[in-house]
Symmetry: C2
Subunit: 268 residues, 2 copies
């Protein structure tokens, strides 16, 4: 079984990813798709006069401040993206089935309602944040859907134990799901070709990282979003996934090529 | 088994409906929820500068013209409502699971892309409409979800055979689903107490209609939205549902009271 995370960043070629999902399915692979949605949420927030507010934590980590309205916008934007992906897959004859981590409590998360940020050099506390850390993955429904011939397509939303919807990181959601469902591989597609040794050279991706070296890669090589992708990869390996591949989602046949080794392969 | 359609019109008391769904579940009833979303889509359309356009057919039937942007708005608004309902049910310990008719091709529909309307006394043809007529209901996934202890919560979206999302009438979607899954009863909750004999008296609901009299009720008593609710009721009865109850969603314990006979009961 294969979990594929589709990044929402600009440049990612959704049509070629969808076509390649169909290729993989035809060759007998069982797939689960997890998607993002941050970029769509940003667009929708701007259209609705509620643009995103990005904040920096004391440790230098940048994240989206998710107040109640931002959460609603995130729910709408990821919902639309989820339904579009399901429609595109169905068009190719794949019996896709969309869900989010709310459904059947797929991603049960602890809400982190308070975030400590640094703004203009001053420390501040923001409350009313709707983000979460996944604590538990309930895969009964995903299994039942697979057993009846459906391909799960999962939006990066979690649920708190009081039923609140929470924004969660899509890469880490994919890692948790891949680990819990005992997927062999997790492919994380984005708009870069892997972990780059030289950010100015898009072809400088590092072909292999062992589990032993991943902490070093996280701390000393990765920048920005890539740090979180590698943290997600480490979580997936810790949970028993055999291989994580961080690969290019902008090319034709991105999944097939990733599985052939085009990208950064991280072996457990 | 019981299918409950929750109308989105103003005045409907979602909290008391949710609490009553929990009551019914505790007493051992298996429920499927179908919701609307037109009102939320109208609000969102206004916020996004794309308010709905209502058109009148040659036969006097009023409907929402669903161009591509309106469809997106409808997908986002119903997606948000679906996720809210799932969260509220989960908060009460019900393992709710949201889906739309796209997922697993639950509602396979024929697209009616061209609509003939009358505007300022003139006949016109509008193209690029994204509405559909449900032709086939695929309940394998809904059954699998129920068999694993989940309560399906269904948004009124269908899919065409080319994977397009289509806007469908929620009452009729609920009727199709109830018929296909062989539900005993369909409860349609809205902001009126049933089929009124006197529109100026909200308590003048007709307590019983036989299947024999439903055409007469549709043609001679019902007005506006109620016509479509009765058409949906007729479709449900034709498909084998034993009883349809059109009842008040504004009161406490609306489902319990509907099942006790408070509302318009239509028997097959």
């Amino acid at each position: 079984m294969l979990v594929v995370k589709i990044g929402g960043a600009s440049g990612v070629n959704i049509n070629s990813i969808i076509a390649d999902i169909a290729n993989q399915t035809e060759s007998g692979e069982k797939l689960i798709i997890v998607h993002g949605g941050s970029e769509r949420a940003t667009e929708l927030g701007e259209q609705l006069g509620h643009p995103p507010r990005f904040v920096t934590s004391a440790s230098g980590h940048i994240s989206r401040y998710t107040d109640k309205r931002t959460l609603e916008i995130f729910l709408m934007a990821t919902g639309l993206l989820n339904r579009r992906l399901v429609g595109q897959l169905q068009r190719l004859g794949i019996n896709a089935f969309g869900l989010s981590g709310l459904d059947g409590r797929l991603f049960l998360a602890e809400r982190k309602s308070t975030i400590r940020i640094v703004e203009n050099g001053k420390r501040k506390i923001l409350r009313d944040d709707y983000t979460g850390r996944i604590e538990n993955v309930n895969i009964e429904a995903v299994r039942a859907l697979q057993d009846t011939g459906h391909m799960p397509v999962v939006a990066p939303i979690a649920i708190s134990d009081t039923g609140e919807a929470l924004n969660v990181d899509g890469d880490r959601a994919a890692a948790h799901l891949a680990g819990t469902i005992k997927a062999d591989k997790l492919v994380i597609l984005s708009n870069v070709s892997g972990l780059l040794s030289d950010l100015t050279d898009p072809n400088s991706y590092i072909p292999n990282i062992s589990a032993h070296d991943i902490d070093d890669a996280i701390n000393n090589i990765a920048r920005g979003r890539m740090k979180r992708k590698l943290i997600a990869a480490r979580e997936a390996l810790d949970a028993g996934v055999k291989q994580v591949i961080v690969a290019n989602g902008k090319i034709e046949q991105p999944i097939t090529k990733a599985l052939k080794g085009e990208g950064t392969l991280i072996n457990g």
